[in-house]
Amino acid sequence: MRISHASKAVALSAALALTLSACGGGSSETPEGNGDAQAGDTSYVVSANTTEPQNGLLPANTNEVGGGRVMDLIFTGLVSYTADGKTQNELAESIETTDSQNYTIKIKSGQTFSDGSPVTAASFVDAWNFGAAAKNAQLNSYFFESIKGYKEVSAENAKKDTMEGLKVVDDTTFTVELSQPESDFPLRLGYTAFFPLPEAAFEDPKAFGEKPVGNGPYTLAEWNHDVNLKLEVNEKYDGPRKAQNGGIDFKVYQSTDSAYQDLISGNLDVLDQVPPSQLASYQSDLGDRSVNSPYAGNATITIPGYLDHFKQGEEGNLRRAAISQAIDRQLVIDKVYQGGKVIAKDFTAPVIDGYSDSIPGSEVLTFNAEAAKKAWADADAISKWDADAELSIGYNVDGAGNKEYVEAVVNQLKNNLGINAVAKPYSSFKELREQVTERKMTGGFRTGWQADYPSLYNFLGALYGTGAGSNDGDYSNKEFDAKLKEGLAATDPAAGAEIFNQAQEILMKDLPAIPLWYQAVQGGWSENVSNVEFGWNGVPLYNEIAGK
């Protein structure tokens, strides 16, 4: 799911990458979760902040945090993710494959949606076909692209609307054939896009999106747009994420500033994003009711390969390395975020299985002003950088905090490289994204990624694969593509991770994006609740929260 880029007053939407506002962060070691939920009041209705979901609540159309956090609670997929990003079976009895290309998926029998209709193999197959079909225009459609027959259903004016790679065997079994071996396919199955849908959903998807009927630990009892979403416990749910409270009342906030005031006055129980204005003081305000820990997201700067002097090759690589080494990341983190981020050591994020902080070549991500100057001079020897030339870093002003960190980075470039670097504001996220997608940027720009599912590949494939959907800098490296493919084909996830990290060695040389830091969640909770823990993606594990 993407990150919300906006933050200040608006929950605007989203962004991929780009953001600061992110909601949330994750941690496996929440300080003072206060452990045993048994001691808590399990009938207490927890209030939590959210932003208005941007679309009707359909699995394949929910691609941002506001809707995603609700979807994760009212639906459940074949697997779900634990706080530390491991997958656990939910509806899946077993997911079997011998070649990472053909999967046989058995689901538990006797499972139902909250309206009583059964969850069968067809609930999945139909939902996935619906999500992939072009005529339904679902935002997450690309998530099904690995499945055989996807091209035929997703093209404009497609005639077919079912993928040939999906076959129902019996009520509780279906098979999936991918168009190539992809070992991390099972990891994706906990993502929103892969949730099942009851038959009723297809009759009128739009109406269903307003009043979704799911199979998760909660049901959506009320949705008052721009005001709140009330979740009640789903008694029919029988899985590992059983509710430890009496329901969740999500309040829609236009700014996290007002949510914070509600938190400290006891009118809000859980806040997953402390506003920038309170970063300096929230830990003293809240004491052990606060958390600050990294989650599966990062912030980067992309300098596209279509710019002069930055084309892929020796000169471009030297210049990117120079820029990377010229940024004193820790200083920026301390000054802008009060220390609330962690220096990036790779292109993915901690919390992900297979993460390594010592990938060969990663020293290019360490501040070293001298090496930076030397690399820049070496690049000048190949083709001279005009001393008056401007190097801009673009950012959208409608996301709180963007300006501060981009300007800090730009100052580092000015001081440490002696070049004319400028921070270039764009009036809105939509303006920045338009320039980026039309390849009209005249300089670098802020990017980033928040993982959809806990996997190294999720950070690498969509961003740096040749021609990939979010490859904003037009990066292309055959060697890297080959490594990705090899990693996907590995049958053992650990072996796959090793190959993905070898692929990252190539990225360290080419720097298609310059990693800055890992995102971290700064959150807090009230005295009324206990056992608050934040997940691998920075979203609180709402079902585990209990009253006091």
């Binding site: 880029h5 007053a9 679902q138 949510a259 009118n267 939509k430 959907g469």
Partner: protein, 308 residues
């Protein structure tokens, strides 16, 4: 009077069309691609993108987009937001809350502004007058968001007299605090306006005549001074209603009021033309009607003013 009213209401039509055309064009002309923002930078298949563009007519040139909008408007279809909700529903939820907020703010600034203004004007140069002048100067000088945060923190968080934010319902009592913040700056202006006007009228011939006739001071102030002093104040209040409704973005943000200001702000950032145009359209209507009411009040306040 009736024909005057009808004429003014008829004026609404060209004003409304002109305003919506202008706003529609302005949103159209702002840089950025709403669909690119919808994907949030994640990949989007070409088919999905094309379908979304077609759904919101974004693949059409300006005149066709605007024409289609007008065509739907005739059937009271205000279009769809990017979240797939009818804009009419968005308006229906946000406007009542904002209207309550604006009316409360208007009441606060009207009632207190006129009372304080009259007292200050009648006691020009005295202690009360000086205090009010200094206090209103401070209020005018301090930005709304500072006032808002301070009041929210003191009254909502420290004293806990009210909740720091407004619930979704936006009831009258909840809105008093935000309305105070919203109305405070205008309150200062109303005080100063009333005061100046009262001072001017105090020495007018008809006031002296009234006093010389031996009327009670109370009656002189109420009927002769105040009534004649109200015209500029009423003009200000009428124009202010519109800005209170459309310009409450800061106040709505601080107190999390689900009103029109934030709806408009978010829609502008997203490039959601139908919502922007609809909100502005309704605000235009509010403005025109408020001014019409002001004009009628003139006749009521000053019998010399007549509308043929």
């Amino acid at each position: 009077m009736l024909s005057f009213t009808l004429k003014r209401i008829a004026q609404l039509i060209p004003v409304f069309i002109g305003a919506t055309l202008l706003v529609y064009f302005l949103v159209f002309a702002t840089p950025g691609d709403p669909i690119a923002a919808l994907s949030g930078g994640k990949p989007m298949t070409p088919a999905t993108e094309a379908a979304l563009r077609a759904q919101y007519n974004l693949d059409q040139p300006f005149w066709i987009q605007y024409g289609l909008y007008l065509k739907n408007l005739v059937t009271f279809d205000l279009g769809m937001s990017f979240s797939g909700q009818p804009v009419a529903d968005l308006l229906g939820r946000a406007f009542p809350v904002t209207a309550r907020l604006a009316i409360l703010a208007l009441l606060i600034e009207g009632v207190f502004g006129i009372i304080f203004g009259v007292i200050a004007g009648m006691r020009k140069g005295k202690f009360f007058d000086s205090t009010i002048l200094v206090a209103s100067l401070i209020v005018i000088a301090v930005p709304t968001f500072v006032l808002g945060f301070v009041l929210q923190f003191v009254i909502g968080v420290k004293l806990e007299w009210a909740k720091p934010t407004v619930s979704g319902a936006g009831t009258w009592s909840e809105l008093i605090l935000p309305a105070m913040v919203l109305g405070l700056v205008s309150l200062a202006y109303v005080i100063r306006l009333t005061r100046t006007s009262v001072i001017e009228n105090k020495s007018a011939d008809y006031v002296r005549t009234a006093t010389a006739k031996g009327l009670s001071r109370n009656r002189v102030v109420r009927v002769h001074v105040l009534r004649n002093s109200l015209i500029p104040v009423v003009t200000f209040l009428g124009a202010d209603l519109g800005s209170l409704m459309g310009g409450a973005i800061v106040t709505e943000g601080i107190f999390n009021v689900p009103g029109v200001g934030n709806l408009l702000y978010r829609a502008i950032l997203k490039g959601e033309t139908p919502t922007v145009v609809a909100v502005v359209g309704v605000l235009v209507i509010v403005f025109v009607i408020a001014n019409l009411i002001v004009d009628m009040l003139y006749a009521l306040l000053d019998p010399r003013i007549r509308y043929a």
